[in-house]
């Protein structure tokens, strides 16, 4: 009967209860929706950052990542790739030859970041074939010097498919070299950095261009799902043993700390925003319940006079709060889940909100379409927190209600 009494008490002031319930429901729904959007956005950023970096874990010659120097190469490339591939938790070990150089045509010269890729292994991380808008992908070309360039370079060098270009770069031994390539494809990713700077060729062609047969600049590692990159990096270091002395093994977080920092800051802002919202809601509830307690002093006095102990009186109020919270959270969950489904289905392009030309760690924010992702543990955690905040906001009013002296309470309005 106490539950029934609490439920009926809630609806004594229908409008007030509806306002309080709505406040909690909307805040909770908004909290779930914001987390869903945020987590999906972050996941997309992470995925793109990992792609941009070249893998979950990266293996280079020691010092390469900071200097990007062409003389820092992995000498026994094949052996290192094989050793890394054997490490438990490694899904794919992807060899790359990355060359910083200049590309020239009859119309001019542009800086170029040329990636020589293993066309069989690279799709484990990213499939460049999907990005080729004009011409053929590396596997479709019968030339041994194929080159795919970003659309912006192509325009600036006034190139057409089939044109010859010359790469000028430094060999690992320090000698300057030139190599001829034929433009076989053009990619348009929408990433300014890629379309303006990046070129793709086969691993063999890149190695030949800088006289680096058998050498590699980078081994990108794609790890099995659910693993932590630190763990896999440690296993790789261990597996490389003595050969690892001249190598650096970086997790993607170490490779692109800017993106990690950005996500941490973005998460912190989201949490601050939610804390502010819930602080407002908690104070509003506490205030309303306190008002309700003062309106019902005599009633609480009566309950106490009839033999309900102080904690029982507090229990009546807390039961009311519990019921209101349960109702509000049920509505809030429906709202939040509906928002999640809607965002997952339609997506929210960041470009709609004025995000233009913003790139960080290889992530083009303007191209991101935010959807929603449920991380069950976070939703459960947030729900528990919301319930605790809402119930907690009624603790002081309940304590006040439990402290009334029955004789004083009974003559409160006299």
């Amino acid at each position: 009967m106490l539950w029934r009494m609490a439920w009926r008490n809630l609806w004594r002031h229908r409008t007030r209860t509806l306002i309080m319930t709505s406040a909690v429901a909307f805040s909770y729904g908004l909290c779930l929706f914001s987390m869903g959007i945020g987590d999906d956005g972050h996941q997309q950023m992470l995925d793109q950052a990992v792609e941009g970096a070249g893998g979950d874990v990266l293996v280079h010659a020691d010092g390469y990542w900071d200097s990007k120097s062409g003389d820092l190469v992995i000498q026994e490339g094949g052996a290192i790739v094989s050793a890394v591939q054997e490490v438990p938790g490694v899904d794919a070990a992807i060899p790359r030859m990355i060359i910083n150089g200049l590309v020239s045509s009859a119309s001019g010269t542009r800086p170029l970041l040329l990636q020589g890729i293993d066309t069989d292994r690279e799709p484990a991380l990213r499939d460049f074939a999907e990005d080729v808008d004009y011409g053929a992908y590396l596997t479709s070309s019968d030339r041994d010097d194929p080159l795919i360039l970003g659309v912006v370079i192509v325009e600036k060098l006034d190139l057409e498919l089939g044109d010859r270009v010359v790469l000028t770069a430094t060999q690992p031994d320090g000698e300057i070299t030139r190599a001829l390539f034929h433009l076989t494809g053009i990619i348009e990713t929408g990433f300014q950095e890629v379309d303006e700077m990046v070129g793709l060729t086969t691993l063999e062609a890149a190695q030949n261009a800088v006289a680096a047969g058998g050498m590699l600049t980078q081994v990108g590692v794609v790890m099995d799902e659910g693993l932590v990159s630190d763990t896999v990096a440690a296993r790789i270091r261990s597996a490389l043993g003595s050969r690892g002395g001249d190598l650096e093994v970086l997790t993607w977080q170490e490779a692109v700390p800017d993106m990690v920092g950005f996500i941490e800051v973005d998460d912190a802002f989201l949490y601050i925003y939610l804390v502010v919202i819930f602080a407002i809601v908690a104070f509003a509830i506490a205030n309303t319940f306190l008002m309700a307690v003062m309106e019902r002093v005599r009633e609480f006095g009566l309950l106490n006079a009839l033999g309900l102990r102080g904690r029982g009186v507090a229990g009546v109020l807390l039961t009311e709060t519990f019921l209101m919270t349960a109702l509000a959270m049920a509505i809030g969950f429906i709202l939040g889940y509906a928002g999640h489904l809607a965002a997952s289905h339609w997506g929210i392009p960041l470009s709609m909100y004025g995000v233009e030309d913003m790139e960080l760690s290889g992530v083009d924010f303007a191209s991101l379409v935010m959807r929603s992702k449920i991380i069950p543990l976070k939703w459960v955690g947030a729900s528990v927190l919301v319930a605790l905040v809402t119930l907690g906001s009624a603790l002081y009013p309940a304590w006040r209600a439990s402290r009334f002296e029955p004789a004083e309470a009974m003559r409160f309005y006299e």
């Binding site: 009494m5 009633e299 009566l302 033999g307 309900l308 029955p406």
Partner: protein
């Protein structure tokens, strides 16, 4: 009313003492309220014994200390000084929780107004104290339903307090007070808000139950018509017992 006024400050009631059946025993009860810098003496050394099964009215004008005395006997308030024993318990030593338990176990209350929990029906209000005692639903209903029928509320059990008249609400309060078979029922001006006919009916009911169930009733009033019906009248004036009288045959 027949009987004799003692006119003394100390009343020995029916000459019952604690050892020979007094249910309530008050000794030198004083109660002082502080209102800012002002001290108000609500009770000034009250001695009183009430025996089991009595039907006693505390009479006196407003401010004479009737409600304060009832509150102290019902453990709703504590005296500033003095000793109170009810049903063998020194109730001045009870803490708040024990006081609530004592009220639940030993005392039934009928207040002047705001007697009922507004969101509960007449039936639920009547069985509320049984619920607090943990009595199962079926047993609660079996106890309360005949009592509600007895007081003429058989057709109104599902009504909320605002759907009942003042007299009907007081009858529900009487049933609630009786439901736990307490040693004592305290009623603070139970007829104050009722018309004379309803008031008379309520008093008849309380008298019947007193005689039939031997429940002790102690109620405050300043209504001469009610005082006339009491078996014993204790008069209070300015926080002191001003006299006591008994009707013939009591």
């Amino acid at each position: 009313m027949d009987g004799q006024e003692t006119g003394t400050g100390r009343i020995e009631g029916t000459s019952a003492t604690w050892n020979n059946g007094a249910l309530i025993r008050l000794r030198q009860i004083t109660r002082t309220y502080k209102e800012g810098a002002l001290e108000v003496l609500a009770l000034r050394g009250v001695d009183l014994d009430i025996a089991e099964g009595e039907f006693t009215a505390l009479a006196g004008p407003s401010g004479s200390g009737k409600t304060t005395l009832l509150n102290i006997i019902g453990v709703l308030d504590k005296p500033t000084a003095g000793r109170v024993e009810v049903a063998g318990t020194d109730i001045t030593r009870l803490d708040k929780g024990e006081a609530a338990d004592f009220r639940l176990d030993q005392v039934g209350f009928i207040f002047q107004a705001y007697n009922l929990v507004p969101v509960l029906t007449a039936l639920e209000n009547a069985e509320f104290t049984l619920l607090l005692r943990g009595v199962p639903t079926a047993q609660r209903r079996a106890t309360v339903t005949p009592l509600l029928e007895r007081v003429g509320l058989a057709d109104m059990m599902d009504r909320k307090p605002h759907e009942l008249s003042g007299g009907q609400q007081q009858r529900v309060a009487v049933v609630r007070a009786l439901a736990t078979s307490p040693a004592l029922i305290l009623a603070d001006e139970p007829t104050a808000n009722l018309d004379s006919e309803t008031s008379g009916g309520l008093l008849d009911l309380m008298l019947e139950l007193n005689q039939e169930l031997k429940t002790t009733f102690l109620f405050s009033t300043h209504d001469p018509a009610v005082i006339e019906r009491a078996r014993r009248v204790v008069r209070l004036l300015d926080g002191r017992v001003d006299g006591s009288s008994r009707s013939a045959g009591s």
